[in-house]
């Protein structure tokens, strides 16, 4: 790990430790990971265990989150669906991160026609509202978990490309990069060892915030029937299936929705704390706040 990478990690960890909201967000995320990994073991019933004698039962000791229109245990389905949301979030943001950082690095480092071409392509993707483009991609590729992850990954790629490019543009003018060029280091080595670690801070912030948006997008796609396919549980799909019964069975709307909200909130709290420390523009606003106060 290089010096600047270590410094970024230290600042990020310190940001998380000293902000009570970030600590809360981190703990919720930790809990979600535990539930995501062990959801199937923690679930009191099978996720697809249909019981026609117990349809639309309100919350009780035997079914703390009630049962759905097929008599399935809502708590079990909410717990197992955690893995789907986290998986979609991580994989889709991973796709966007790898693609966006690669494109942003190439555009910012080489500039010229390559920069122009790549950034105009990113502008084209930016011209579509996020969910609309994701829906269109899933619609043509066919609904499912994998296509939802690809679609969300594609729509979030431009933001990573832009964040990376703007960082690279300033870093490539630094003396240490020129020094590396002058001693004959290859472009790949310079990008990997000198440029990338110095643009890591805004990328960490962007990753955290994008995870929140990706989980929201997955929930929206599932709600439209374009994400995980039944009978596998997904929070968005549970809300869609339950929306017709929600006036007589409030628990079908409350519990899956709360799960989405808490997950997204946790990522946002962590992302905001990281931004306060790692993003210089946010520091300027922080200073403005202190001055105004």
């Amino acid at each position: 790990m290089s010096g600047s990478e270590e410094k970024t990690s230290r600042r990020a960890l310190s940001a998380l430790r000293h902000d009570p909201l970030a600590v809360t967000g981190s703990l919720v995320l930790l809990l979600l990971v535990v539930v995501g990994v062990g959801g199937a073991w923690l679930a009191p019933s099978g996720v697809n265990e249909v019981d026609v004698d117990r349809m639309l039962q309100p919350p009780s000791w035997s079914h703390p989150f009630g049962t759905d229109e097929l008599g399935r245990d809502v708590l079990s389905r909410v717990l197992v669906a955690t893995r789907v949301s986290l998986q979609v979030g991580v994989v889709s943001v991973g796709i966007a991160l790898v693609a966006g950082v690669t494109l942003g690095l190439l555009a910012g480092y080489y500039r010229g026609w390559l920069d122009n071409l790549l950034m105009r392509c990113m502008d084209v993707l930016f011209a579509f509202p996020v969910l609309l483009l994701a829906v269109a991609i899933v619609a043509v590729l066919g609904p499912g978990l994998l296509t939802a992850m690809i679609a969300i990954g594609v729509v979030y790629t431009p933001i990573f490309a832009r964040v990376t490019r703007s960082g690279v543009l300033s870093v490539r003018e630094q003396v240490f990069v020129r020094a590396a060029v002058s001693i004959g280091a290859s472009d790949l080595r310079i990008m990997r060892r000198h440029v990338l670690p110095n643009v890591a801070a805004p990328l960490i912030v962007q990753t955290s915030l994008s995870l929140a948006f990706a989980i929201l997008s997955e929930a929206a796609l599932s709600f439209l029937g374009l994400g995980v396919q039944p009978p596998a549980p997904a929070w968005g799909r549970m809300l869609y299936d339950g929306r017709g019964f929600v006036t007589e069975a409030w628990w079908l709307g409350v519990f899956p929705g709360t799960a989405i909200f808490l997950t997204v909130l946790a990522f946002n709290l962590v992302g905001d704390a990281l931004r306060d420390v790692l993003d210089p523009r946010q520091l300027t606003i922080g200073e403005a706040r202190r001055n105004a106060g």
């Binding site: 579509f128 509202p129 043509v140 006036t247 997204v264």
Partner: protein, 314 residues
């Protein structure tokens, strides 16, 4: 300023060309024959051949794209695989419903966010400021369709004050339109308001720390004059951009809300086209929304450059 507008126009033209290419390629990504997939069990050779010929799928790809582009420029986006009607008229019929929902939602969002954002910045650290920050964090974290479901549960189910879904054109019965638009518009508007509140607060705080504000205070101007003349006039310039961008993104981003509330707008049309595998309608809706999005961004940039001349110089 003139050169800036021409440059932005050219850029938008290039991006729009790219948008048409992406929309065109969507059809090519469909696994198998898109017409056969769309017809499904309704397949008959005559309809199949007619639709393929009308969509020009038997020609080389480059010719297909150039033809699609040429037709799009004249307002011809092909015909629906389902109804055989022109896509342009199908999409344009749905536009008023989406526009009325998006405009109402943004108006509501501005009414909530403007006082909340400005007051929380001016009373930074107060209880109101904390409440505004909790509100904005809540808004960016909550799925809008969940809030819609909760709204239906409370205001339609428990209280019975509002209809749970449906649409009445404003030209037909404004009162009934209003009763139907409240729930979807507030649902979308609250999320937009939370984003705007956050932005307005930051913008006002930034201006409050500027030297010219300190100078205005030092020369003895009354607080109200400082706020109205120096702080708000400068702080709200970037806010104009965010409001317009929010409006533009709502034009295509309210699919889920339109589905939830059975609101017959472009979003609902997109959803129906996906369900029916009516690819020309899907392409038409996506192209129209992206073009509107680009046009709004172009207008905003020009307006922004007019409000803040430094922009066109950069």
């Amino acid at each position: 300023m003139g050169r800036f507008v021409i440059r932005r126009l050219l850029q938008s033209g290039v991006v729009l060309l790219g948008v048409t290419l992406v929309v065109f390629l969507l059809l090519q990504l469909v696994p198998g024959d898109p017409v056969r997939v769309a017809l499904g069990t309704r397949f008959d050779p005559q309809t199949y051949e007619a639709l393929r010929a009308r969509a020009g799928l038997d020609r080389p790809l480059v010719v297909q794209y150039l033809s699609y582009l040429g037709n799009a420029l004249t307002g011809d986006l092909g015909v629906s695989f389902r109804s055989g009607r022109p896509v342009t008229s199908i999409v344009l019929e749905r536009l008023p419903a989406t526009l009325s929902l998006a405009a109402t939602a943004v108006a509501f969002a501005v009414l909530v966010a403007f006082p909340l954002g400005v007051l929380s910045a001016m009373r930074s650290g107060s209880l109101l400021d904390h409440a505004a920050r909790v509100f904005s964090q809540f808004g960016v974290s909550v799925p809008d369709f969940w809030m819609g479901i909760m709204g239906i549960l409370l205001f339609a189910g428990v209280l019975g004050w509002l209809p749970p879904s449906g649409y009445v054109p404003i030209t037909e019965d404004p009162a009934r339109w209003a009763s139907h638009v409240v729930l979807p518009a507030v649902t979308v508007g609250l999320v937009t308001a939370s984003i705007l509140t956050r932005f307005i607060r930051s913008s006002v705080l930034e201006v409050l720390s500027e030297d010219y504000v300190r100078t205005a205070e030092a020369k003895g101007l009354r607080a109200r004059v400082v706020i109205m003349r120096h702080v708000l006039r400068n702080a709200l310039i970037p806010v104009v951009t965010v409001v317009a961008v929010q409006l533009a993104s709502l034009l295509g981003g309210v699919i889920v809300i339109e589905v939830l509330f059975a609101w017959p707008g472009v979003g609902r049309l997109t959803y129906d086209a996906v369900q029916a595998r009516d690819y020309p309608v899907l392409q038409g809706a996506v192209l129209l929304v992206a073009a509107l999005f680009l046009l709004t961004n172009l207008l905003v940039d020009v307006l922004y450059a007019r409000l803040d001349p430094r922009i066109s110089v950069r």
